[in-house]
C-alpha cells in the first residue's frame, strides 16, 4: 500500500508540475494574444472596413460589368474600351485584377466628376494610368485611363 501511495504521490507531483507548466504557457499565450491584438488592431479594423469593398467584386466579369454600368450611368462618351484579366502578384492576397483600358472624351467637368465617381463607387480600384489632353471641342477633355479592379482569391 505504501508503494502504491508513493507511486500515486509521484504521479500527482508529475501531473502538478505539468499542469503548472501548462498554466504558465497558457498565461504566456494569453499575454501574446493580447499584445498581438493591440498590435494588429488598426490593421484588422481597416480589414473589416475594406473587405466588403473587395468582396463586392468576386470575379473579372463582375468588375467589367461594374465599370460598364458606371460608364453608362455617367453618360460619358466612350471612344474605346478594353478589358483584360491580368496577374498582379501571385504571392499576394490580390493576385489578379481586371484591367480596364478606357478612352473617353467629354465635357471637362462631367468627365472629372465621373472619374471621381468611379474612384468613389469602386473604392478598391486603382487608376494605374491617367493621361489627359485637350479634347476636340472647346470644353472637352480627352482622357486615357487604365483602371485595375482587384479580384480576391477565394
Amino acid at each position: 500500500m505504501r508503494n502504491r501511495a508513493v507511486v500515486a504521490r509521484e504521479a500527482a507531483e508529475s501531473t502538478k508540475s505539468s499542469a503548472e507548466l501548462a498554466e504558465q504557457d497558457r498565461r504566456l499565450a494569453e499575454i501574446k494574444l493580447k499584445s498581438l491584438e493591440a498590435k494588429t488592431a488598426d490593421l484588422r479594423q481597416s480589414y473589416e472596413v475594406w473587405l466588403p469593398h473587395f468582396l463586392a467584386v468576386q470575379n473579372p466579369e463582375a468588375a467589367e460589368q461594374r465599370i460598364s454600368e458606371l460608364v453608362r450611368a455617367g453618360d460619358i462618351f466612350l471612344l474605346s474600351q478594353k478589358y483584360e484579366e491580368r496577374k498582379i502578384d501571385p504571392d499576394s492576397m490580390i493576385s489578379r485584377a481586371l484591367v480596364a483600358t478606357l478612352v473617353v472624351e467629354d465635357d471637362y467637368v462631367k468627365t472629372m466628376n465621373w472619374l471621381g465617381k468611379v474612384e468613389d463607387l469602386i473604392p478598391s480600384c486603382r487608376v494605374a494610368k491617367c493621361r489627359m489632353i485637350r479634347g476636340d471641342r472647346g470644353d472637352n477633355i480627352h482622357v486615357e485611363l487604365t483602371i485595375q479592379v482587384p479580384v480576391l482569391e477565394s
Binding site: 500515486a8 504521490r9 505539468s18 498581438l36 494588429t40 480589414y47 473587405l51 474612384e119 494610368k129 489627359m132
Partner: protein, 182 residues
C-alpha cells in the same frame, strides 16, 4: 464403592523452570504490530486516495490549461492570418489613392495665362504608391509651377525628383508624387 477417587492425577515435580517473564510481551507486541500495521495501512491508503484525488485535480487543470492554450494559439493564428490579409489589402490601397482630386487640383491651379497641354499620372508598377506625374503647361512660368505644386501639397502629396524643362512659352514638368502620411 466406599472409596471415592477424587483425583486420578498424581503430583509431579516440575521438570523445567517455565518461560521468562518478558516472553509475556510477545502477544502484546503481536497485537500492537497488528494494530500498527492496520493504522499504517489506513494511513497509506488515505494518502493514496489523497494523492489520487490530487492527481485528478491537477490532471483537470492540465487539461483545461492545454485546451485554453490551444484555443488561444488558434486565435493567435487566426489573428495573424487576418493581419496578413489586411496587410495585403493595405498595400494595395496604399497604391490606390484617388487621383481625381490631384487632376482637379492641378486644373484649378492654372492661372489666367496658363493652360494644361497634357497631364499624365502614371503609377510606378513596382511601387504603386509612387505616381509619376508629367505636366505640360502652355504659358505661365515658375510661378505657375509653384502654384500647382502648392495645390498638390495641400492634398497631402509630396513631390520628389522634380524636373522642369522650359520650352518656348511652355513648361514640361515631371515629378514623383508620394502620399504624405503626416
Amino acid at each position: 464403592m466406599e472409596n471415592i477417587i477424587h483425583d486420578l492425577k498424581t503430583e509431579r515435580p516440575n521438570i523445567s523452570g517455565g518461560l521468562p517473564v518478558f516472553y509475556k510481551i510477545i502477544p502484546i507486541a503481536f497485537y500492537l504490530a497488528v494494530v500498527l500495521s492496520c493504522v499504517l495501512c489506513l494511513f497509506f491508503f488515505m494518502n493514496f486516495r489523497h494523492q489520487t484525488a490530487s492527481k485528478e485535480v491537477w490532471q483537470g487543470r492540465l487539461n483545461a490549461a492545454n485546451t485554453e492554450k490551444a484555443s488561444l494559439i488558434g486565435k493567435q493564428t487566426e489573428m495573424v492570418g487576418t493581419a496578413q490579409k489586411a496587410d495585403g489589402l493595405a498595400k494595395w490601397l496604399e497604391g490606390s489613392r484617388p487621383i481625381q482630386p490631384v487632376t482637379v487640383a492641378i486644373g484649378r491651379s492654372m492661372t489666367k495665362n496658363s493652360t494644361i497641354a497634357e497631364l499624365t499620372l502614371d503609377r510606378n508598377p513596382e511601387l504603386p504608391a509612387h505616381t509619376n506625374m508629367q505636366l505640360k503647361i502652355n504659358g505661365g512660368g515658375s510661378e505657375q509651377i509653384e502654384t500647382t505644386l502648392d495645390s498638390i501639397t495641400a492634398l497631402n502629396f509630396q513631390t520628389y525628383s522634380a524636373n522642369q524643362t522650359r520650352g518656348q512659352n511652355a513648361i514640361d514638368f515631371e515629378a514623383t508624387l508620394i502620399w504624405n502620411d503626416k
